[in-house]
C-alpha cells in the first residue's frame, strides 16, 4: 500500500488511543475500586500501543524535522535516570520507572515528530488529549449519578465536602483536568466550526466545574496559570492580550470564591489515620508506653510535647496543608545526596513523612521530589528539557493565527503542568494520570514550529 494511503489510518488510530490511555491512567487510581486492577494492567498496554502507533506514524512522516534540542535534553534526562540504577536505593524500581518514563517521552516525541510542520495534525493530537480529559469529567458525573458515595469525599470537622468524580481523591483526576484546561479553552474559542466550539465550551466548563467542586487549590492555581499563559500568547496585539488576561483573572477570582463556599462539618466524625496500615495488636504494660499511641513517627516534627493535643488549623485557601514543613524536610534529605540523589523513581521510599499536619507518602512537589531522586543535576537536566520545549513559544507571535493559537494552547498545558508540579509530585511519574497528557501537549510545541520542507526549527 502506498505510504500516502496509510497515513490517515494511523493518524486516525492515534487519536482514540491517546484518549483511551488518558482515561485508563485515571481509572487505574480512580474512585471505582473494582476497576483499578484491570485498569492498572490495561494502562500500560494502552501506553505501549500508543508508543507503537506514534513511532510508526513518525517513521512514515520522517521527512519533516523538528528541532533536536528537546530530544537531546529528554535523552540526557532519561540517560541520567538510567545511570542512577548504579547508585539507587532500589535499582529494580529505578529501572522500571526509567523504562516507563522513557516510553512516555518517546511516545510524546514521536507524536510531535509525526505532526511536525502540520498544525492540523498537531491540532488533532491536542483534540485527543482534550477528549481524554472530557471522558474523565463525564465519567465523574456518571459516578456522581450512580455511586454518589464514591464521587464525593464526605465533609469532616476540618474539611468540607469535596468532589472527586472518577479520581481516587479530590486532587487526583483534577491534575489531568488542570493540564487539559487551556487546550479545552482553545477548542472552545479558537477553532473554526460553531459545533466544535460548542462542544469545546461544554468540555471546558465541565473541566473547570470539576476542579472548583474538588476544592483542589493546586489544580485551580495550575489551571488558571495555564489559562493565563494561553490568553497571553493567543493574540498578537497587546490590547487584546490584556483583555484576555483580564477575563481569565476575573473568571479565576469567581472560581476561587466558588471553591471556598463549602464549609467543614463540625458534627462529622473525625478521620483517624492509623500509625500503620495494618497495626499489630500490641498493648503496653504500664508504666511503659506504646509510642505509636502518643507520638506517631509521621507526626514527630512540629508535634507539641506529649500530652498536649495537636491543634488542627483546618484547610484554608492559602494554607499549605503541612506542605512547607514537608518540603523543608525533603530538601534537607536531598542535601544528603545533593548532586545525584537517591535514584530515579525512589521518591516514595526515600521521603519519610515526619511532619504534623502533613499526610502523604511523597513531598507533593515535583521539583523537591526530583532533587531527592536525581539531585541537582537531575533538576538542571529537567529544566533544560522544559526550556528546550518552550523555545518555540518565543517565536509564536510571528506565526500564522492557527499555529499561534495552537502554540498558546500547548504552552498553556505545559505551564499548567509545571505550576501543578509545585503542589504535586508527578512530572516524572509515568503512572500518574496527568503525566502522559502533559508531555504529549508539551512536545507538540516543537511540532508546531518545524518546517514542512525539512529544515529543522532551531
Amino acid at each position: 500500500m502506498p505510504v500516502a494511503a496509510r497515513l490517515p489510518s494511523i493518524e486516525r488510530a492515534v487519536q482514540p488511543v491517546i484518549s483511551a490511555t488518558i482515561l485508563l491512567f485515571v481509572l487505574a487510581s480512580g474512585s471505582i475500586q473494582s476497576w483499578i486492577p484491570l485498569a492498572r494492567r490495561l494502562r500500560w498496554l494502552a501506553l505501549l500501543g500508543l508508543l507503537v502507533l506514534a513511532v510508526a506514524w513518525a517513521w512514515q512522516r520522517r521527512g519533516p524535522q523538528v528541532g533536536l534540542a528537546a530530544f537531546t535534553a529528554a535523552g540526557a534526562f532519561v540517560g541520567l535516570a538510567a545511570l542512577s540504577i548504579g547508585w539507587s536505593v532500589d535499582p529494580r524500581d529505578t529501572l522500571g520507572h526509567t523504562v516507563a518514563f522513557a516510553v512516555v517521552l518517546v511516545a510524546a516525541g514521536a507524536l510531535a515528530w509525526a505532526a511536525a510542520g502540520r498544525p492540523e495534525a498537531a491540532g488533532r493530537v491536542l483534540d485527543a488529549v482534550v477528549a481524554g480529559a472530557a471522558l474523565v469529567a463525564l465519567g465523574g458525573l456518571l459516578v456522581l449519578l450512580f455511586r454518589h458515595d464514591r464521587a464525593v469525599q464526605a465533609a469532616t470537622p476540618a474539611l468540607p465536602t469535596r468532589y472527586q468524580g472518577l479520581g481516587g481523591g479530590p486532587n487526583t483526576a483534577t491534575m489531568l483536568l488542570a493540564v487539559a484546561l487551556p487546550a479545552a479553552a482553545h477548542v472552545a474559542i479558537d477553532t473554526g466550526r460553531a459545533f466544535r466550539r460548542a462542544i469545546g465550551t461544554v468540555v471546558a466548563v465541565g473541566l473547570l466545574a470539576s476542579i472548583v467542586a474538588s476544592g483542589s487549590r493546586g489544580a485551580l492555581v495550575a489551571g488558571f496559570a495555564g489559562l493565563a499563559a494561553w490568553a497571553a500568547l493567543r493574540e498578537p496585539g497587546t490590547r487584546r492580550t490584556l483583555a484576555s488576561l483580564g477575563a481569565v483573572a476575573a473568571l479565576g477570582l469567581l472560581c476561587v470564591a466558588a471553591s471556598s463556599l463549602p464549609d467543614p462539618d463540625p458534627g462529622a466524625p473525625a478521620v483517624e489515620v492509623a500509625a500503620d496500615p495494618n497495626p499489630p495488636p500490641v498493648r503496653a504494660v504500664p508504666p511503659f508506653v506504646d509510642a505509636n499511641m502518643v507520638l506517631r513517627l509521621q507526626d514527630d516534627v512540629g508535634h507539641p510535647p506529649p500530652g498536649v493535643g495537636v491543634e488542627d488549623p483546618g484547610r484554608t485557601l492559602t494554607g499549605s496543608s503541612g506542605r512547607t514543613e514537608a518540603w523543608a524536610g525533603a530538601v534537607g534529605q536531598a542535601a544528603g545526596r545533593p548532586l545525584l540523589g537517591f535514584g530515579f523513581g525512589t521518591e516514595e521510599q526515600v521521603f519519610v513523612d515526619r511532619y504534623v499536619g502533613f499526610n502523604s507518602g511523597v513531598p507533593e512537589n515535583s521539583y523537591v521530589g526530583l532533587a531527592l531522586e536525581l539531585g541537582a543535576l537531575g533538576l538542571v537536566l529537567f529544566l533544560g528539557l522544559v526550556a528546550a520545549l518552550l523555545v518555540p513559544v518565543v517565536r509564536a507571535r510571528s506565526s500564522d493565527a492557527r499555529t499561534r493559537r495552537l502554540t498558546a494552547a500547548c504552552a498553556g498545558a505545559l505551564v499548567a503542568g509545571l505550576v501543578l508540579g509545585v503542589f504535586q509530585s508527578y512530572l516524572y511519574a509515568p503512572g500518574n494520570n496527568a503525566t502522559a497528557a502533559l508531555w504529549i501537549s508539551a512536545f507538540l510545541l516543537i511540532a508546531l514550529h518545524a518546517r514542512p520542507d525539512g529544515a529543522a526549527a532551531r
Binding site: W87, P280, A284, F288, N292, L340, F342, V352
Partner: protein, 134 residues
Amino acid sequence: MLAAALVVAALLLGLGRLERSRHAEEQNDGIARVRATVGPLGSSLSGFRFLARFQCLVYSRGENRFALELCVDRSGRIVEAIDRRSGGTEYWSLREDPELADVRVDRAEVERHIVRMCPVCEGIFERDAQRADL
C-alpha cells in the same frame, strides 16, 4: 563522541556511589552517637514502637519520656535513631537503604526488652520468625 559519553557516564556512576556511601557514613555516625548516648539497651526504657518494617526502643531523659529512640530491623541493624532531648526532633536514618546501616545491636535482646513492655508482642515475634523460616 561515544567515548566522551562513556567517560561522563563512568564519572557520574562513581560520583553517585560516592555520594551514597558518604551519606550512609554520616547517617551511621549519627546513629552511633545516639546509640552511645543510650548506653545499655535495657536502662531508662520508657516505651517501644511496633511497625511492620522495624521496631523501636524509646528512652527517657529527665522529664522527657521520648528523648531518645533507636529503631532496629529484623537483622539487628539500627536503621533510624532519633534525639528529642533539645525539644525538637533530630534524626539519622537509613530506612531507605538498610543494607548500609552498620550499627548493630543484638536483635534477641531488643525483642526481650519489647516483650517485657508488651507481653503480647512475643506472639508476633514468634509468628514473624516462623514466616522467616518458611
